[in-house]
Symmetry: C2
Subunit: 152 residues, 2 copies
DNA sequence: GCATCTTATATAGCGCGCGATTTAATCGCA
DNA sequence: TGCGATTAAATCGCGCGCTATATAAGATGC
């Protein structure tokens, strides 16, 4: 009966924490956001705010739902976040003329300028992962794949 | 100059959203938690609550910080969560006799019983991922690895 | 024995993420 | 033209996850 404690029994179970992909994903994401929190403090951005800025640096003037489709977030999450970024002077929210339902999100001078500071972030993160670029690309593609399958 | 739009230029940049491992991780985690939300509605658990239950099903009677070490969460997150689980009748929080600073978290009858319902969850999730067990194990190990490196 | 340090938990406040609902603008179609 | 259906944002409420701080119990040193 050696080793037959509750703990060891449970390692065999499908419910064992360390066997769950979900927990591996969850805890890796927590760890990643901790790394970003530290790096982004210098830019006065939160991690989701940084993602929104990435979207806008790619293409300025997108609508709220356009940003949402890119990040898989809805207006309930984005509206308050965008208001905070507007409050910080990084962007402006303006109702579209053609379709008054839509709100275009446009970077300010300051918002564009922040990009320069942000350029340093990806390298710091890659360094923090202690992974090779190849490993990271593979993991990234696996995760994109997983996301797509989970969403279907 | 064909194809030289803002958007295409930015795909080359290190800041391109779709090149970020962080975003792949973030969006996969969002998608995963959506899958769990749906499945866990039947158990009246949130995703983090489910993780806490996994920890307690593995070993009952752990302290708050013991659970926290396992899940990489601290008391600021766990205390309110545990109070909600206590309110739902799944566990009890009791101060330790030996060390009055510690709080032991003990499953109730109902908390133990919920495990039976939970047994069905992992298979549903594996199905939702549309991945082979091998693929999932590899991804899980890669993520554990990443988490460890990020935390160091 | 007592002050000081450390540790375990709890609390307060903020920013997500999201389900549910609301408001307002546009579309479809008779 | 007008009216119901659809769409885009916004709002509300809740549960995390975290920083900072508080409280209280144990450990340590003199």
């Amino acid at each position: 009966m050696r080793g037959m404690t509750d703990r060891n029994d449970s390692q065999e179970s499908l419910l064992a924490l360390d066997r769950q992909v979900c927990f591996a994903l969850y805890s890796a994401q927590l760890a990643m956001s901790k790394v970003y929190r530290k790096l982004l403090r210098e830019l006065d951005l939160t991690y989701p705010q940084y993602l929104v800025m990435l979207v806008l640096w790619e293409q300025d003037g997108q609508t709220v739902s356009g940003i949402g489709e890119r990040l898989f977030l809805d207006s309930a999450t984005l509206t308050p976040l965008l208001k905070r970024l507007e409050g910080a002077g990084l962007l402006q929210r303006q109702r579209s003329r053609q379709d008054e339902r839509q709100v275009a999100v446009v970077l300010t001078e300051q918002g564009h300028k922040l990009r320069e500071k942000a350029e340093a972030v990806p390298e710091s993160v890659m360094c923090a992962t202690q992974c090779s670029p190849d490993e990271l690309e593979r993991l990234r593609d696996d995760l994109h794949n997983l996301r797509e399958r989970l969403a279907s």
